[in-house]
C-alpha cells in the first residue's frame, strides 16, 4: 500500500517541505543556485510538484497544475520521494534501478543532493509534529 492516500496528502507533506525549504533563509539561497525549474512527477498517487529555483529570484512551489515550464523533470513513485526525504534512498542507485527517472540537465539537480542531507531530520520532525509517525517511520 502506498504511503500517501491521495494527492492532497502528497502536497500536505512533500509539498509543504518544499515550501518550507524555499522559506529557509539559509537553505533557500543554496537551492536557488541550481538555476532551474524542476518538476517532480509522482505516481501512486498521481501528483506533481514544480519548483522554481532561480538565482536572485523568489522561489516558487506549485502543487499540481502549473504555468511554470520545467527544465528538469524527475519521475518517481510518491513512495520513493517520501523515502528520499527520509534519507533512505541512494539517488544513483534509484536512477540505476529505474525508481527515479530524470530528464533534462540533471546535473543541476544532482548538485543539490548533498544539500538535502540536513533536510532529512526536518522532514521526519514535520511528519511527527503532524501526528504521522506512521509516515515518519516508513
Amino acid at each position: 500500500m502506498a504511503y500517501f492516500s491521495d494527492e492532497q496528502e502528497v502536497y500536505r507533506y512533500l509539498g509543504q517541505l518544499f515550501l518550507d525549504l524555499l522559506d529557509d533563509p539559509e537553505l533557500a539561497p543554496k537551492f536557488r543556485t541550481a538555476n532551474t525549474i524542476v518538476q517532480y512527477r509522482y505516481r501512486n498517487p498521481d501528483s506533481q510538484i514544480t519548483v522554481k529555483l532561480i538565482e536572485a529570484e523568489e522561489g516558487q512551489v506549485d502543487l499540481g497544475p502549473t504555468r511554470l515550464e520545467p527544465e528538469v523533470v524527475m519521475t518517481m513513485d510518491a513512495d520513493t520521494a517520501h523515502r528520499f526525504w527520509l534519507g533512505k534512498v541512494n539517488v544513483t542507485v534509484a536512477l540505476a534501478r529505474g525508481q527515479m527517472k530524470a530528464k533534462g540537465p540533471v546535473a543541476k539537480i544532482l548538485r543539490l543532493v548533498p544539500l538535502t542531507k540536513p533536510v532529512f531530520p526536518r522532514y521526519k520532525a514535520q511528519l511527527e509534529a503532524a501526528g504521522r509517525s506512521d509516515l515518519a517511520n516508513a
Partner: protein, 403 residues
C-alpha cells in the same frame, strides 16, 4: 571520523548492477581485419569517425583497407571531431550518416572521437539534439519505457589512446561551449558492440598524450575502486587494471614498446568498467570543469587532482582508508604512516616522472576561477558517488591545494 550512514565500503551490497557487453578483441595485426570483425556485429556500410590528427598519421588508410578487404563499404569519413566533442560535431556526423546511407559507425581515435560516434549514433537512430539526451538511463525503451532499451546502430571503436576506456563504456561526455560545461549521456545502448585493442593504433601517440591518458586510466581504476558505488564485479576490473598500469604505464610512455602499449590499452578498457556501475569520484568532479572552462586536457586535470582527492578521501574514515590500502599495495607503496598521504605521494612521483604538469596553475587555471569551478564540481554526478561527501568549501580547498 563519523561514517556517512548510507555509505557501505565492504560486505554484501543491497544492490548493484554490472554490465560489460562489448566484444573486445585484443592483440597484434588486428587493424587488417576490422571489417571481418565488424561484419559480425551487423555492419555493412560504415561511417568512419576520426579527427584531423589521426588522419595525418596514416592510420585511417590502414583501417579503411581493413574494412573494405572484408567486403564492407565505406559510406563516408568524418575527420573533424574537435578536441572536446560538442553538439554541433555530433549533429554533423549523424547528418552525414543519413546523407550517405551509412548503417554503422566506426570510431578511430581517442575519447572525444569515440564519444562523438556514440552520440551521433544516438541522434542517427532516435533524432533530436545531443543536449536533449543529457542524463542517465534516458534512452527509449520498449514496452512504454519498462522494457529493453532500443538498440542503436552497430558501433565499433578502435582507441588510439590508452586512457578514456570509452570503447567499452556506457557514457559519452559532450561539451556545451556556450555554457562552458561538459555534460554526460549514459545508457547501455551507447556501449560499443566491438572494441579493437591493437598497439599499432597507439604507435604514433605523442608521449605527453600517452602520459595524460594513462593517468586518466589510473584515475578511473582508483576512483572506481574506492567509490561508494563500488561492487565486487568491478573491483576485479579495477584491481587488475592497477596491476597492468603499474607494470606498463611508464614503459609505454618513455619507451613506447609495443607490449607495454598493448597492455595499457587493455588496462584502460578494464579501468573504465566500474564507471558503468556508476563508480567514480571527485577527482573527476574537479577535473570536468577544468576542461570545460579552461580547456585543460582531461587526463592532465585528473593527474593533478587525483593526489589531493586521495588525501581528502582517505581521511574520511577507516572503511575508505582500507580500500586505499588495497590500491597502495598494488602500486607498491610502502605501508608506512597514513595511507592517503603515502599513496598521494606515489601518484605525484608518477605524474612527475611522466613529465606532466603537477599544478593547476601550470595549465592556466587561476585562483579567481575557483568559485565557478566549485559550482561545476558540486553539480557533477561523480560527486554523489565519492566515498566522502564533500561540501562546497571542501572542494574549494581541494582546488586551492591543487593550484
Amino acid at each position: 571520523m563519523e561514517a556517512d550512514d548510507d555509505r557501505q565500503m565492504a560486505g554484501f551490497k543491497d544492490f548493484y548492477q554490472f554490465s560489460a557487453p562489448t566484444r573486445v578483441i585484443a592483440g597484434r595485426d588486428l587493424l587488417d581485419s576490422v571489417g571481418f570483425e565488424f561484419a559480425k556485429e551487423g555492419a555493412s556500410r560504415v561511417l568512419l569517425v576520426t579527427d584531423g590528427g589521426i588522419r595525418a598519421t596514416g592510420l585511417v588508410e590502414r583501417v579503411l583497407a581493413g574494412v573494405t578487404d572484408s567486403g564492407l563499404e565505406v559510406a563516408a569519413i568524418f575527420d573533424a571531431v574537435p578536441q572536446d566533442s560538442d553538439g554541433a560535431a555530433v549533429a554533423s556526423i549523424a547528418e552525414l550518416a543519413r546523407e550517405t546511407g551509412a548503417d554503422s559507425f566506426l570510431a578511430l581515435g581517442g575519447g572525444s572521437v569515440i564519444d562523438s560516434a556514440k552520440v551521433a549514433n544516438l541522434l542517427f537512430t532516435h533524432g533530436g539534439e545531443a543536449r536533449d539526451w543529457e542524463g542517465y538511463y534516458g534512452l527509449p525503451r520498449a514496452d512504454d519505457g519498462a522494457g529493453r532499451a532500443l538498440e542503436l546502430a552497430p558501433l565499433a571503436a578502435i582507441p588510439t589512446t590508452a586512457g578514456t576506456g570509452s570503447e567499452v563504456s556506457f557514457a559519452a561526455v559532450i561539451k556545451d561551449r556556450d555554457a562552458q560545461l561538459k555534460y554526460q549521456i549514459g545508457d547501455f545502448p551507447l556501449i560499443p558492440r566491438l572494441a579493437i585493442l591493437d598497439p599499432a593504433s597507439t604507435a604514433t601517440l605523442p608521449q605527453a598524450i600517452a602520459a595524460a591518458t594513462g593517468m586518466d586510466a589510473l584515475t578511473h581504476a582508483i576512483e572506481g575502486y574506492v567509490s561508494r558505488d563500488w561492487n565486487a564485479h568491478t573491483d576485479a576490473y579495477a584491481l587488475h587494471a592497477l596491476r597492468l598500469i603499474r607494470a606498463n604505464l611508464e614503459r609505454a610512455v618513455h619507451g613506447g614498446d609495443e607490449t607495454a602499449r598493448g597492455n595499457m590499452l587493455i588496462a584502460a578498457s578494464l579501468a573504465i568498467v566500474p564507471t558503468t556501475s556508476g563508480a567514480l569520484g571527485i577527482a573527476h568532479s574537479l577535473s570536468h570543469p577544468c576542461g570545460a572552462i579552461y580547456n585543460v586536457p582531461h587526463g592532465v586535470a585528473n593527474a593533478i587532482n587525483l593526489p589531493v582527492t586521495i588525501e581528502y578521501n582517505a581521511a574520511g574514515g577507516e572503511d575508505i582508508a582500507a580500500r586505499y590500502r588495497d590500491v597502495a599495495e598494488l602500486l607498491g607503496v610502502e605501508p608506512r604512516g597514513e595511507v592517503g598521504h603515502a599513496l598521494a605521494e606515489r601518484v605525484r612521483e608518477l605524474v612527475g616522472s611522466l613529465g606532466l604538469p603537477t599544478r593547476l596553475s601550470q595549465v592556466g587555471v587561476p585562483e579567481a576561477g575557483i568559485p565557478q569551478l566549485v559550482e561545476g564540481a558540486m553539480g557533477d554526478a561523480c560527486t554523489l558517488v565519492n566515498p566522502r561527501v564533500p561540501s562546497a568549501e571542501d572542494l574549494a580547498e581541494l582546488y586551492r591545494q591543487a593550484l
